[in-house]
Symmetry: C2
Subunit: 202 residues, 2 copies
């Protein structure tokens, strides 16, 4: 169906509809999961019709893609933005990264860990674009840890960076499995030992 520019805004649920749909996706996908969240529920929470939703995102896959982009650009959800802070030295950025305690989405019933990892688990290879987005993000994150380890003067930055990537993922994944934030503390302790061992104490 073709609409004029003037009516398009109305049929698409107003200028804020796309943003509301994306926010609903962030809320529901992070807290309840991707498969468990139907398009009807997303439309309901976003206060749009499913028809409007499909006008903005032609498929659920398209919305999942936009959701992962939003999570990545809104670094707060992933708890990785401390690596961008140019006011901190490299060693301090690595230490602070592990001192972060990611907050679960308000509507989550349980500890939800990393939403990008969770998307890879749910995809299981059947959502190739989502799997590729997660893989790229995690590779870039590990590469940044290696760079930061090098900047901090670690003698083997490749090894330290990759080990820290495993620790960071493990803290969030085990917090999910246990529904308990304890593993974040355990990972922080080990990360501190490794970072200080490689770059000297504060």
């Amino acid at each position: 169906m073709e609409t004029s520019e003037a009516t398009a805004g109305a049929t698409r649920g107003g200028r804020g509809a796309r943003e509301r749909i994306l926010r609903a996706a962030v809320e529901l996908f992070t807290s309840d999961g991707i498969h468990a969240t139907g398009v009807a529920k997303l439309a309901d929470v976003a206060h749009v019709s499913t028809r409007t939703l499909y006008q903005h995102f032609p498929s659920k896959e398209a919305l999942i893609g936009a959701y992962l982009q939003r999570i990545e650009s809104d670094g707060a959800i992933l708890g990785e933005t401390v690596l961008d802070r140019r006011d901190l030295g490299a060693r301090e950025r690595l230490l602070r990264l592990f001192a972060e305690r990611p907050t679960s989405p308000p509507s989550a019933k349980v500890v939800r860990g990393c939403p990008m990892h969770n998307a890879a688990v749910e995809s299981a290879g059947t959502l190739p674009e989502a799997s590729a987005a997660v893989e790229r993000h995690k590779r870039e994150f590990a590469a940044r840890l290696v760079e930061t380890a090098a900047e901090a003067g670690a003698p083997r930055p490749e090894v330290l960076g990759r080990q820290l990537a495993v620790l960071f993922e493990g803290a969030r994944a085990l917090a999910t499995s246990l529904n308990d934030m304890g593993p974040l503390q355990d990972a922080e302790g080990l990360a501190k030992t490794l970072i200080e061992g490689a770059t000297g104490p504060a």
Copy 2:
């Protein structure tokens, strides 16, 4: 509907039906995920009718519960059975645990990590029995790591055991996110450093 003992076998798809359903669940849930696998597909792969499936497992939740029990009793899938080997010393058991390379299920399109963790991710608190089973398993596993660390003579077995639990989970979780077994190698290297640092070299 009531059936006599004699006809029950036939209506339930023969004596092997329950086992075939459970094996189908192990194959499909581990490779494709829990939500993505419908009861019709499970029945198809198990060569039973959906009616027969529901005679053995009154709900998908019941089947998920039996699936998690099976995974736990068949330690091979989790790659944790080396902790049971009484022919190996405690230090060697810890080292071997991280030398294991879990094999993905034959039908998996991608690296699938730990099926118990994956079930916790998919549950997101909406499958309380599954979440509880994963939580209990992971707590027991961490407790065994602490005990084994103590037996190996680690001066702070609580700390080492919990750190190894984070590393073990992180290796599998990051392998899933990256669709790459590399993190298993990284975790093995760090685990070796930690275990030998706490208990002395071989």
